[in-house]
Symmetry: C2
Subunit: 220 residues, 2 copies
């Protein structure tokens, strides 16, 4: 199911260049994706990897492809997951401006903007993603609004009007997001956060320790 | 959602007696439940707790109450979870006699037997549960068969004919299992393994490290 993005062995890597990236998939509307975003670069750097961020859409993977309800609306799992989130936030001294049970924002403008920026410069896209995550989860702003997404883009040096054109329906961002979502599904990515390193998939914030062990040991 | 089984603080505990148990919920058909069963007693003992085992039915919680498909049949998540299971087993040197994707055994006779035994003696019930888990996941036997369950019961000193009567429809085991499943649902238990300690819920094999931190620190 999970295709191998780059299957170079450690030996090949020495010949072929730097280690392959740690791929980090997230949906901006996912609180666990946000919490993972605060840690993933440090984790990757510790093992000489670059974290490559990729926006995906759980509305497509979870609801359309898997045929599941959103977690907050799933009996038993919804209340448990809310509690688990608050337990994590409390432990790490993080306060969230949005409740787990609140209606999610419209994820499309941010995700389109991310992929449009990423196609030109992954570093700018990552700065944008950090700012968008913070705008929603720390400041409680409406990241489903095109105007808000444009403002956040301007904050990382992107021309607002250009961004607005790119994230319109049929715009470059629209096309890029569609193919990115297809690609993530083909790789088996279904939730947020999701990580792939050397073809090995890890789902969930709580898998970051296992992912670290995997990087440390070079797999098993 | 999650009721508090025993909310005594550390201070109360000193007055009131020994620490409350670590409740461990599992379904015999769940490979992750089996893997947790291999570790839960040592974890509890390390913090002066007793692990109290409780059979539940994911066919009721996941399929009926939550309205979800079985994980192996869930697109994307099924193949991922299979891979995650094999990765864990490989790391811990465990080989499983049954494949994750194989049709599950009929879970009722074993679960009824467990609760019938547990109502008389939790220690015997735990020995029985260990033997049943091993029979399925290590030896590949059909634990959905009443005759097999009776044999496993005899292996831990239970009279086979008595056990067979108890696990018949309408028998004591049937009644006890129904109320145990209702109780677990009322406590918010939905998956296998699931742990509750001092009212705090933890779902999944991968939460055992967090559970350990919780026991170590007395919560946060």
């Amino acid at each position: 199911m999970v295709s191998v993005q780059d299957n170079s062995s450690d030996a090949n890597r020495e010949v072929n260049g730097p280690p392959t990236p740690l791929w980090f998939y997230f949906d901006f509307i996912s609180p666990f994706g946000y919490l993972a975003s605060l840690r993933v670069d440090a984790l990757a750097a510790r093992y000489g990897r670059e974290a490559r961020w990729q926006a995906m859409l759980i509305g497509v993977s979870v609801m359309k492809v898997m045929g599941l309800k959103p977690v907050p609306q799933t009996p038993l799992k919804g209340p448990y997951t809310r509690r688990d989130l608050l337990r994590y936030a409390r432990r790490h001294g993080i306060s969230l401006a949005r409740d787990f049970d609140a209606p999610p924002p419209y994820p499309i403008p941010g995700a389109r903007a991310f992929h449009w920026l990423d196609s030109a410069d992954p570093v700018v896209a990552k700065s944008f993603a950090r700012a968008l995550f913070a705008a929603y989860w720390q400041q409680g702003r409406d990241i489903g609004s095109v105007a808000e997404v444009a403002r956040i883009g301007e904050g990382v040096g992107v021309e607002g009007a250009e961004l607005v054109a790119a994230i319109a329906s049929g715009g470059e961002g629209d096309v890029l997001l569609r193919s990115a979502v297809d690609r993530s599904l083909a790789l088996g990515v279904f939730g947020s956060p999701f990580f792939i390193v050397d073809g090995e998939p890890f789902f969930g914030l709580e898998k970051m320790e296992l992912l670290q062990d995997w990087l440390e040991q070079g797999g098993w």
